[in-house]
Symmetry: D2
């Protein structure tokens, strides 16, 4: 049983350490979530509980990996931003991405019942993951703008699409109505036909969810048994605009970005 005789096979493992001093973005994506959301009767175009479950998973991932400074989620995807100096697992790509995806997935199944107490999970859902390196603060910010723009474009389309379908159109008819329309026409359609003011819809649907650590005051009892208030960084979900400057002006220094 000479173990050493076989151990040479370890030499086939590749060193896949990522470049130092770059922002790392891990994006987790639902695998086959179109079918998954159908089977589980998710509300269309947005299922609030399903989005809150995604946020919960992301919060727990952030609580486990302290090098994640920001997470942004929409629909069935979540992006995690690891700070430039991150040395987690020696920056080994597959180690980082596989662990993150696993933790996210695990939380999704584990917490399902809390968000859908009356709905049985019919089969185990899964996610894929990827890592992208961004050398520059501007590249990182543009990445996040790209995802939030994607959220906006898809959500506006889906809101129209499902309004049409819920009003009696077939899916094909709804597609035909929307083909070639620009944003202003979609807004107009929602307002004139369905009396929906798109900008009044919940921000979580229109802008997705941003999670960063915010300082909060925590009431606790100290070692002497006395009530005290302590400041602590808590992962906090909001639904802000992360394309415009305002968010970044507020949070740059905290996140380690230079603009």
């Amino acid at each position: 049983m000479a173990k050493s005789k076989y151990e040479y096979v370890k030499k086939f493992e590749r060193n896949d350490s990522l470049l130092p001093n770059t922002w790392l973005v891990i994006r987790v994506d639902g695998r086959g979530f179109h079918k998954f959301s159908d089977k589980h009767g998710f509300v269309k175009p947005n299922d609030q509980k399903a989005l809150e479950l995604m946020n919960k998973c992301a919060e727990n991932v952030m609580n486990d990996f302290h090098d994640i400074v920001l997470a942004y989620g929409q629909s069935d995807e979540y992006s995690f931003v690891l700070k430039k100096e991150c040395s987690l697992y020696d920056r080994r790509e597959t180690k980082i991405v596989s662990t993150t995806v696993s933790l996210f997935t695990s939380n999704y199944v584990f917490n399902w019942n809390k968000y859908f107490p009356d709905k049985e999970l019919l089969y185990p859902p899964s996610f894929d993951g990827r890592v992208v390196q961004y050398p520059d603060d501007n590249n990182l910010r543009d990445y996040l703008s790209w995802r939030q723009t994607d959220c906006h474009i898809n959500n506006l389309y889906n809101t129209c699409f499902w309004a049409l379908v819920h009003s009696g159109k077939t899916e094909t008819e709804a597609e035909n109505v929307l083909r070639g329309t620009v944003s202003s026409e979609k807004n107009e359609l929602l307002y004139s036909q369905f009396n929906i003011n798109y900008n009044k819809l919940p921000e979580m649907y229109r802008k997705g969810s941003v999670i960063i650590r915010q300082e909060a005051e925590i009431n606790t009892i100290n070692q002497k048994g006395i009530d005290v208030t302590r400041k602590k960084n808590i992962v906090t979900v909001s639904h802000e605009d992360i394309i415009r400057d305002e968010f970044w002006k507020k949070n740059n220094s905290k996140l380690g970005l230079k603009f």
Copy 2:
């Protein structure tokens, strides 16, 4: 909301396709499973139910990914062998590994209650994953021999260790007794002190679990409503020796190996 303005950030994604015509081995490993098994009161040195849950997860991964021709598991790890011609996700490394790990994890949490109906899952477990490429059938077989040898060495050690601890020794005392002992001495210790014949212990503990597709006869009802027997390939768990030639002689052609 010019999406195109930001889309350049996609160019930072790396093409990580693996080399064609090599065996791909994905190994999934429990993350922090020492603590996890303690917290959940796993029987030591082997918890039958926990191992069966691992096997269940691996079976479901194989049922989802048809390019996996063989899986081998022991302790809190599982290796999946994808055939050389596998073109799953264009052989993109992080896509393959992240999806596999996610599916494995999801099954673990999803099926927990079936294997531990009386034990609550206290927190979401996670796994990491890696991919190794093996150009040659012999390299692949040596990889599997390496893992099964590892299973044997660890299990023999752990069986002694826990026998000593269960008999009243501290963990440190048990370690001291075992330090420097060879296999024959450990076998002797089990037999003389604890009346345990190591070779009579369950094969799943001593050899781990091998999963391949085996042809099986399935009784079913055909379109005319008549009972028929059909042959079908079913993923099947066994606990065979995969170091010696016998297993390979039996299964080579099925697995696409040349020896």
Copy 3:
């Protein structure tokens, strides 16, 4: 002058070791050789001296790197096959490819005068290089067949093209004549219009050049001053067919291939 303060920059170097146990093929290609051959008045379609210079460079590269078991060249390119077990520079990709290309280039300029004693080298030529990994003997052989087929197709075309041009056609007219013709038509054109039997043209032009080490008897004087004959492996150029089985049957065992 704290050196250590800056040495962290070495961490940005990537480990680019290639997979063990795969054939490595380095292909060196002339950069801008269309212009280079024009400026230096190379005979068209084939300049014997220029091809011999390429062969000389390849021989010297093989004499320097003993892990190269075979080289194949045609036109302004040369492919070098490193044996599977090659551990040159720990199989680091850029180290291997850069050194090989450098040595090839250096030999080209260094030996120019020997092949073109009456022709001044007008400016320094350059080459690029790449490495491809082949896990399987058949993949490697197919690679070489691909290059020799390329040689055949290009040479047949060029032989026709330049025969037409030398006979007074413009380059555009020659292209038009050849557009859409198959091999047999090109052979016929050469024979009927120019009385050229393509298969009688020099093998170096039609098949390119293959270099392997062949055992040869070397006459030398031993330490006692006596004439002796020693067997030695000498890099040897030939112009054989490497697509058909014959070459491989003769040389398989020597090259470490299994067919």
Copy 4:
């Protein structure tokens, strides 16, 4: 002769594009230059002509690749800095490094006679190359500081070593004298024993060579046959300190750096 039958082998080529928006540094290093400099009787510790030949090669590489904004050389090595936005060869690593090394090597052999008219080149020299990516301007500057510090440390040592050897010491004796000495002791040794003021030695030896494009006025004759003065960017060698701020203050904007 079905070419397509074999063309699948191209699929084994890996896409090795480097990350966008990072500084790329290519370092070219002499291979076996200790022996090469001995065989060709280079003056020790510094051969002015050999260094000038290196500079000439680097200038020509810069004239060929316009994306190189700065080059730094010392001893038998040269580093080339490609600007962040460089899209040369789609940033493919082996293509970039192999071409650069080839061009450098070619120039070395091609120009040998101009620098050593009385010295025959005995055999073809070669160089290796590597690429390193630097995401940040500070990382890049630290890289260059690292190389210039290396130049200083080695040159001070070598100046002492060869002064001792030229004065009659064996190489081993010289090593023993210098073991454990710090910079100030080496300076003192040169001054007291050999009357050498280290800081008065040629800057090229002490600081290496920096090449950037400088605007120069070129006298030329225009299309009307009239003498005119035109401004043009010309690659220019100097021997400045590139560790201190001064050089960067002068050249930052030109080089595209932000400090």
